[in-house]
């Protein structure tokens, strides 16, 4: 069964829902308007560990929001959100962290790292469209790299098995923990399914730690005034399905050079 009527939705929200609790500390060293991962920030959900080899996080991985898996045909939908931030005029997104890897070095100029959604596969329900068009790819920073201004070139395999380099990404200098750099397909109409390697144009001067992350956005909330809740009911949040084992975490688009505190609650309705 799935939730197909308003009465079923009301009943699920009241009587058969998993509650999400959000209380994240600020992440410093950010760039206004550039995405910031709260993966390594302490609070609720807890601090995520820096990944090593490629792996598929689940709802039970530290750093994600836990909820009750369902037995088919029962399903789960994100049906209510109330989020506030410590600073004004920014956005908060909830993503399913599909796969990740870390341990890349800011002093290595040879090709390094790889992440494949073919081999590190979270399952078709979490992936969404089979052509990978629902997936967002990122370079994610876990420990700051050095002060030299460098670029990254990322080699990928697209959904049609063609390969190529993305446009070079200007990383800038002194990239801090939490920074996310989106990986954008360089071929119109194609979608990334594998990142084959990352090549830095020069040593940044400090190894740091960064990696490759694949996510799928499930919800987005715009924040107006600081410390004031933005509430989204089922219609506003759009009832995105939350497949079993989804590894839900937060990405913030900050309005200052830190993410600001993020607090809130949500409900995943089951039925």
């Amino acid at each position: 069964m799935t939730i197909t009527t308003r009465d079923q939705l009301v009943d699920a929200l009241a009587n058969n829902a998993s509650r999400l609790v959000i209380d994240k500390v600020t992440v410093t060293g950010q760039v206004i308007g550039s995405p910031c991962s709260t993966w390594t920030a302490s609070g609720l959900p807890g601090t995520g560990a820096n990944p090593g080899a490629a792996s598929v996080p689940t709802k039970d991985t530290a750093g994600t929001m836990n909820f009750q898996n369902q037995i088919a045909p029962a399903t789960s939908y994100l049906a209510w959100l109330a989020i506030q931030c410590g600073q004004a005029a920014q956005s908060v997104e909830i993503h399913d962290r599909l796969a990740h890897m870390g341990g890349l070095s800011g002093t290595v100029t040879a090709a390094q790292g790889a992440l494949s959604l073919v081999t590190s596969n979270p399952g078709e329900a979490r992936l969404g469209s089979p052509n990978y068009s629902d997936v967002q790819w990122w370079l994610e920073w876990y420990t700051a790299t050095g002060s030299t201004n460098v670029n990254a070139t990322v080699n990928v395999t697209y959904d049609d098995d063609s390969t190529g380099n993305l446009a070079a990404i200007s990383l800038g200098a002194s990239v801090q923990r939490g920074r996310l750099f989106p990986l954008i397909p360089n071929v119109s109409g194609r979608f990334i399914k594998v990142v084959n390697s990352v090549t830095l144009s020069a040593s940044t001067g400090t190894a740091g730690n960064f990696g490759i992350t694949a996510t799928r956005q499930r919800a987005a909330v715009g924040i107006g005034a600081p410390n004031t809740f933005t509430t989204q009911g089922w219609a506003e949040v759009g009832l995105p399905n939350i497949p079993n084992d989804s590894a839900l975490f937060l990405i913030v688009y900050p309005s200052a050079t830190q993410s600001g505190t993020v607090r809130g609650q949500g409900k995943i309705a089951h039925g």
Binding site: T107, T148, N149, T153, A168, S170, S201, A202, S203
Partner: protein, 54 residues
């Protein structure tokens, strides 16, 4: 080793994104002794990613 003021072109895999000629504005040596050529606004490049323009 190249010198400040010399003109270079950027090589693969960065050539497509930086197709012009650029001037070396600084030579950087990190703590590990790795050299990089600062090409100004487009950032720094290791020696294997640049060649002198004749």
């Amino acid at each position: 080793m190249f010198q400040v003021g010399q003109k270079v072109r950027v090589l693969s895999p960065f050539a497509e994104s930086f197709p012009d000629q650029y001037e070396i504005v600084a030579v950087i040596t990190d703590e590990d002794g790795q050299i990089a050529y600062d090409l100004g606004g487009i950032g720094a490049f290791a020696p294997q990613f640049v060649e002198i323009v004749e």
